[in-house]
Each structure stands twice: as C-alpha cells, then as structure tokens.
Amino acid sequence: MTKDECKQVVLDIIADIAPDEDLSNVKPEVRLRDQLQLDSMDFLDIVMELRKRHSIEVPESEYQQLASLDSCAEYLTPKFNTLAAKS
C-alpha cells in the first residue's frame, strides 16, 4: 500500500463517520480537527473502523499519530504493509 492509498483509506472512514463534511479539499499536512468538525468520539470511530475494516490496532498512546492525513499515512502505511506481508 502506498501512502496515498493509505490516506484514501482514512478519508473513506472519515466520509462515513462525518457524512456532513466536504472532504474534497482536505489538506494532508493540516490537523484533521483544525479543518473538519471532528471530536474525540470521532477519533475513536476512526480507531474502531481501522480495527473492524482492516484489523489495524492503534494503541491509545499512539492516537496522536492520527492527527493529520500525512501523519496517518506515515504511521499506518507500514502497519498495512506488515499485515499484507503476513497474509
């Protein structure tokens, strides 16, 4: 999985948990909470959906890695690729 593909995975999740938001111009380097109406429960949703859809676990101590699309890609892409290598 590329980082861009990883960002799309996260955007697909956000589209479902924040269906009123316009995601066409999300800036990857800007914190998601600074550009979208997302609260702490929404971030728990992102964590839950990564778990449900992709079997990716994000420990609480690493939640800050999900702050922006760029940081998501940095953090999650290796996890996706590790999972893919195992399967």
């Binding site: 948990i17 269906p19 009123d20 429960m41 949703d45 839950m48 778990r51 449900k52």
Partner: protein, 412 residues
C-alpha cells in the same frame, strides 16, 4: 403558582399515519391506518407501525448516525411543536425551558444492535461501540433534544411503561406549577419497533397481533382481536402557564383540566380494572367534573383479548349508562401501540375535536365483542357531536401504572 392554569400551545408529532397534526387528524377521520410489514431481526416479517418523517429536516447526518431513533423522533417532534407554538425561540431563556419525555423503555434497540455487531467479531468486546453508553442512558431522547436545540434547562425522560406519554404532560404541568421552568416540551416517544425483544416478548406472551391485512391488524374491541401491533412514534407538546401564553398572544389548543396517576400493585402484566377505575374517577374529581361532563374518552385498549375487556369494565364502572354525551374511541386501531408515545399521540389525535366537533372512530370493529360494548363507543365511522368541552385520555402500562389525563376547551 401551584394552581396556575396550564395550557397546550403547540403540537409536534410523527405517527405511522401522519407527520403533522393536520395529516394525522385527516387520516383518523378518513379511516386511514398506518400499519405495514417490517423485517425484524431473528423474527422475519412482522406487523409494525413505522414513521416516515424526514430526519434530515432538523438533524445533520452525523447526529443521526451518532444518536438514536428515539432521539431523532424527539428532535423532530420538539422542533415541530416549537414551530407550531409560534414562540420566538431564539429570544427565549434556554435555561427556563424543560424537556420531559415519556418512554416505555430505552436502550434495548442500541444494546441489541451492539450484541449483533460483536457477534460478527466472535463476540470480542473490543468491537463494542464507544457510543453505547450515551445512546442507552435513560435520558437519551431528552438529552439529544437539548443538544440539538441548545436548551439548558432540565431535560430528562420519564419511565412509565405505556402510560409514559401522559406522564410527560402531567410532569410538565407539575413543573410549570412549581415554577421550575417557564416553558415545557413534553410528551412521549418510542423507537420500540427497532428491538426484536419487544416483538419476541409480546409473542411469548401470546399478545402479538397477526392478520393478513396490516391495516386491519390492530382491532381493539373486535371479537377477532388477537394482540398488539407494535409501533414507533412521538408527540411532544409545548406547555405554558396561561398568563405567559396569553401575554404572547399564543394559540391555545386546550387547558389541562385534571389528571391522576396510580398503581395496581397486583400483577406484572395483567391490568386491574378496579385501580383503573379509581384512576379515572380521581382524574375527573380533580378536574372538578363529573363523569357526565366528559365528552370524549380515548381508551388505552391495545387489542389484547383480556386487556380490552378489563378497561371496558373500568370505564363501565365510572361512566355506567348515565352519560349520554360521553363518546368513547380508540386511536391504536389506526396506528397500533406507539408505546411511550401512545398517550401523547392519542390525545393529539383528539384535540381537533374541540374545533370540528367530530369524534374519530375506533376502526376495524367488524364484530363487536359484547364484553366491550360500551354505551357511546364510536365505531368505524367518525361521529358528529353537539359539544366537545372535555377529553379524557387513558394510558396504562406494565407493572400496573395507570394514568388518566383530562384536557378541556379553553375558555378565558
């Protein structure tokens, strides 16, 4: 203030056969029921009363996703009631508004959904939603309404089984009289058709209706009645002290005349006609009326074989043969049993009688059960009457809670 006159100034509702009082009333007068077949988890196709209001009228998609059906119904009804009341909501002191919503139950739907969800993950509870607790707390429907409207006064639910709709109104009237709030949104809601447990529970009690034609399935007082049709719905009113309503020139639907609440203390599920009669008598007495002064009795009857007979026994004990101006009807024959919303919706369906002097019928009575043959029963066709000054609304519930609420035509 304890004797303050309390009036109804707005109505917002969603019923299986109408999403406004106008539509609901029109269908009650035209004999249009609102029952359909619905797929229920683990049980297949079942009869149910389903509401078809547009949730997006007052909620964002995210609110609907995060919240509950009962919360959504409450928000719709609250905003419709506020609009109907003509109040300048933006200018109101939000901390002086109370939200009092009756519920038969809350949390079953959301709990069942989560158990079903984790069943897909080998019952691993790490897949259990973090929204479970805010969705299932008993105050959820009132809390979601306060969030949506920015109301900072007291907002909570009142658990009173199927007497809950009446209880929302009664409690609001009490809070207005105590001066706890200056304006109330009150009534009842139900999301119960989304929990298989309610259906399965009534089926195990042999109290779940079956019929080939959904619109004929809810048939109180008919010999062939065979149980309850479970429905969802909601109805919230705006209630105010009379002087407040008059000072803003509000339209007044009716005045709260009297009420009473008591308990059977006799059985978990079987009604007790002696206590029901006591409740009705006390409400009439507290309204300063006699049985002959009551012009419409809206029955609670749910179409269970025994329950209908017992309520008729209670009504017969109170009204006897000497009340020629008392007309008796039933709204569940159109919309099924809206559980926590039932009392509030059924009262709303009768409020327009003050203006049109028409009593809506109890439909689906092809063969009247002689044990339910009350004088004054309005069957199958609405009845034009000479006067409607008072409406008595019965709502009873499991564990033996009884409520009777009387409203009267407003006379300054």
């Amino acid at each position: 203030m304890k004797s303050a006159r309390i009036v109804i100034t707005g109505v917002g509702l969603t019923a299986p056969n109408g999403d406004s009082l106008t539509e609901f009333r029109r269908n009650l007068l035209n004999g249009v029921a609102g029952i359909e077949r619905m797929e229920i988890r683990y049980m297949g196709s079942q009869l149910a009363g389903v509401c078809h209001y547009d949730p997006l009228k007052y909620q964002k998609k995210k609110e609907i996703r995060v919240g509950t059906r009962a919360g959504s119904i409450s928000i719709y009804c609250a905003r419709e009631a506020l609009a109907d009341s003509g109040v300048n909501f933006e200018a109101m002191a939000k901390d002086r508004i109370g939200i009092y919503i009756g519920c038969t139950e809350h949390g079953n739907v959301e709990t069942e959904n989560e158990i079903y969800n984790i069943s897909k993950f080998n019952y691993d509870t790490k897949f259990w939603s973090h929204y479970h607790n805010p969705r299932t707390v008993a105050n959820n429907p009132a809390g979601e309404t306060s969030l949506n409207l920015g109301i900072t006064g007291p907002a909570y639910t009142i658990g009173a089984a199927c007497a809950a709709g009446n209880m929302g109104l009664i409690h609001a009237a009490q809070m207005l009289r105590l001066g706890e709030v200056d304006f109330a949104l009150c009534g009842g809601v139900s999301e119960s058709i989304h929990t298989f447990g309610i259906f399965a529970g009534f089926k195990s009690q042999n109290a779940l209706a079956t019929h080939a034609d959904p619109h004929k399935s809810s048939r109180p007082f008919d010999k062939a009645r065979n149980g309850i049709v479970i429905s969802e719905g909601g109805c919230l009113y705006t209630l105010e002290r009379l002087e407040d309503a008059q000072s803003r020139g509000a339209k007044i639907y009716a005045e709260i005349a009297g009420y009473h609440v008591n308990s059977d203390a006799s059985d978990y599920v079987l009604p007790n006609p002696v206590r029901q009669a006591e409740c009705v008598r006390a409400s009439i007495s507290r309204a300063g009326l006699t049985p002959a002064d009551i012009h419409i009795v809206n029955t609670h009857a749910t179409a269970t074989p025994l329950g209908d007979i017992q309520e008729c026994e209670a009504i017969r004990a109170v009204f006897g043969e000497g009340c020629p101006d008392t007309h008796i009807n039933n709204t569940k024959s159109f919309i099924g049993h809206c559980m926590g919303a039932a009392g509030a919706l059924e009262l709303a369906g009768n409020l327009p009688s003050f203006d049109d002097l028409t009593v809506h019928a109890s439909i689906n009575v092809d063969d009247l059960d002689p044990l339910c043959a009350l004088p004054g029963l309005v069957l199958n066709q609405p009845r034009k009457v000479a006067k409607v000054e008072t409406i008595l609304n019965n709502s009873f519930g499991m564990l033996g809670i009884n409520s009777a609420l009387i409203v009267k035509r407003f006379h300054p």
